[in-house]
Symmetry: C2
Subunit: 143 residues, 2 copies
DNA sequence: AGATAGTTATTGCATTTTGCAATAACTTAT
DNA sequence: ATAAGTTATTGCAAAATGCAATAACTATCT
């Protein structure tokens, strides 16, 4: 297990020690906001993560307790990752990043989630989180 | 000016393209939650950022419009950085990171800001932001 | 005036991380 | 049997980071 050495006892520093990079939060995003749950799902996301980086980040997320990992019952060569409470508690961060990114990316116009979020952010966060909690222990429904 | 190429049109991806690393948000944290405003202030933060990295990140923050840069009137060899609205809009992200980090860093017990935040987060965020906006255009009061 | 300290960088070099392409090992589908 | 799907691993080049030394300038002190 890779050791993460903390730079200070600041909670922000602690957070960034774990997921302060360009990829980790995108994997969590996939699991939070899409139905993505497997290696290949993440590999096919539009940003185009390299497979060696993906392996590395998934191991970190697993070792640090952000996700559980279990074999798919429908496909024995496939693993399903599921968010733990530790990761579900990051939903507010992700939502805030969406809100900020939508506002300051001039090349893009506001979309689906934002309008919903901005109207009642606290409610939207709670809905997403409750929905994610239902997935705990669930397998795929279909291929 | 360093060019940041975007990996996708996802707002989270856009955000991480700019500040998805281990240092940038710590500099913003210093400006948001402490009275830190200068190169040496950031250099002396507990995490121990290297001066070449700090130069690089401050340039990015400046070029991307997160901070303004002006000479100190009390010390001509010193520059004062001030957060713009673009950065002040990241206060919610930073507060959420504090909240999450406080909760999951087992080596640390809850402190000052958290208790205040958890009770009424929306209010706390607004207060911090309003306070930061007052600093716009302000010089140092004393050395 | 000269020495010391403060402030913002730059440089060089070793180490680490990332990016990219090929490929492996195994399972599933045709 | 062959091809396709899935999760990795490997090798190598490129980029980013970490660290120490030092530069250039300003401020302070005696």
């Amino acid at each position: 297990m890779k050791i993460i050495n903390s730079r200070s006892d600041c909670p922000i520093s602690y957070s960034l020690d774990i997921f302060g990079d360009k990829w980790t939060l995108l994997i969590l995003r996939d699991m939070m906001l899409s139905e993505k749950r497997s290696f290949s799902d993440f590999l096919n996301s539009p940003e185009g993560i390299a497979s060696n980086i993906l392996v590395d980040r998934l191991n970190i997320l697993h070792n640090q307790g952000f996700v559980t990992k279990e074999a798919s019952l429908l496909n024995k060569s496939k693993f399903l990752y599921t968010l733990t409470e530790k990761a579900i508690d990051l939903v507010p961060v992700v939502i805030d990043l969406i809100e900020w990114g939508e506002k300051y990316n001039s090349k893009r116009e506001p979309k689906s989630i934002l309008t919903k979020v901005v109207k009642n952010k606290a409610r939207a966060i709670k809905e997403i989180q409750e929905n994610l909690r239902k997935k705990t222990g669930q397998q795929e429904v279909s291929k």
